[in-house]
């Protein structure tokens, strides 16, 4: 498919990401229990529920507005850092999408805007065992695919693979942020739950476009 996608397809892609988080929230909490409170999955579930509600409330509005409402909902959802972090990612994306049809380069620009907004909220750098370790390679994969003139669904498939690989790579990293930071070497051997959430979300984005 898909040299371009309209707002409805963009939101269908987002829906796939929300669904995938919802389907895996228990596993995400289980992963978090190794180095954190074990509540990451329930926090993500609340964030996607808030995003879902915003999406329904804003049905028919321009995509950019729907993104902003989802972002605000996620930020206000209970459960600590995941809501504000994923909310700022969505807020950045929303500011970039407007209500236009997107080609692959525009999709890359949208994800880059989300990443830029998110990185204003956290000092986390790649290699520090956070969601950044999955998100940066995923966003870069979309841009690389766009530059290689790939279709959007192919670009998202590569992004999902890059995110999964990035999440897996956190196993060998020392945590430097959040509550896990204070555990030092005890974090080795455990994948980061936030990075896994990013991988889950991109898997859902990709699956939604493949269907």
């Amino acid at each position: 498919m898909a040299r371009t996608m309209g707002p409805a397809d963009t939101l269908r892609m987002i829906q796939g990401g929300l669904d995938e988080i919802r389907a895996n929230h228990e596993e995400l909490s289980r992963l978090d229990a190794a180095t954190g409170d074990g509540d990451h999955g329930s926090a993500m579930l609340r964030a996607v529920d808030a995003a879902q509600k915003a999406m329904q409330d804003k049905a028919g509005a321009p995509a950019g507005e729907v993104f902003q409402a989802m972002a605000w909902g996620m930020m206000g959802s209970t459960g600590g850092a995941p809501g504000p972090l994923f909310g700022s990612f969505f807020m950045g994306m929303g500011a970039a999408v407007g209500d236009d049809d997107l080609d692959c380069a525009a999709v890359a620009t949208m994800f880059e805007a989300g990443l830029a907004k998110l990185r204003k909220q956290t000092k986390a750098q790649p290699g520090e065992k956070t969601m950044i370790d999955a998100l940066v390679p995923a966003v870069e994969a979309v841009r690389a695919a766009a530059e290689a003139d790939a279709d959007i669904d192919a670009a998202l498939a590569r992004a999902a693979a890059a995110a999964a690989h990035g999440a897996e790579s956190t196993k060998d990293m020392l945590a430097r942020h959040g509550k896990a930071r204070n555990l030092g070497e005890r974090t080795l051997g455990h994948v980061d739950a936030g990075a896994t959430s990013v991988a889950c979300m991109f898997k859902g984005f990709s699956q939604a476009l493949a269907n």
Partner: protein, 333 residues
Amino acid sequence: MAMKKFINDPNNLTAELLDGMCTAFADKLTLVNEKLVCRANPKDESKVAIVTLGGSGHEPALQAFVGEGLIDISVVGDIFAAPGPPQVIEALRMMNREAGVLFVVLNHAGDVMSANMAMEMVEAEGLNVRMILTHEDIAPGADAPAEDKRGLVGCIPLYKVAGAAAEAGKSLDEVYAIAERFNDNMATLAVAMKTATHPQNGAEIAQIADDEMEIGMGQHGEAGTGPCKIMTADETAKVMVERLIPAIGAASGDKVLLVVNGSGATTHMEMFIVYRAARKILTDAGIEVACSMVGEYLTVQEMGGFQMFLAKMDDELIDLFNAPCDSPYWTVR
């Protein structure tokens, strides 16, 4: 093992505890929009307001210290989790006033992120808010960068001195300066000997062997300086107070505030025995314990252990500490 707690739906803990607290102390607290614990008798608009934020599960902190001469609004997150920026912004807007708002934030990643995002937005709206970050945990070393040092029980006496200064009609700059002076001269060290369960998922928040304890463990089970064999109250107090004294630079002739804050499962009997030992070491060093707090202020569910806190006090801080206040868990007349 099944979780042994008197709870209902684990997803509804915060809502139920806030409902209970705010109705039990209806003369002092009012719950607004489910997450904002506000003073039932709001402070005069001409005075600086004090706003703070933090996760629940640490009762009575933070919200039971909302009241006259203390906090004006406590923005409550879920169990051990920060509230989101929208709720924080709502509280800061509610307290918006010409006199300004002092916004007290404990150094925990989620709290700081919500606070920073909220500050960015309210500053763009032109609100007169100054943020102060508590970071007095010396577990990573007294000289560690501020961002590595957690905010522990020190926020409670900080609310007290800042709240008293605000109540006295001081300007935002003055209230901020007093709070920052207190903030710069305080230190906390925690010790844990029995872990606690996370009330939402029943998981133990830390692992501590039966015959061990860990000095420096944070209030969510974050690792400290490594486990050691259990020591007596006197030995434990000695190790802790001898690290706290140099951390605040206290010397003979100085006056201090000494706090022993129970983590949830440590008895008042133990807290007083520890307090006695710490006080004796301070007194022997010529340091006067001018103010004291012994009890459960900021807890970690049923964790066994305590936080020991020391702050250098001057006459103005002592007067503010002793000034009248009226909240559910701290009243001075």
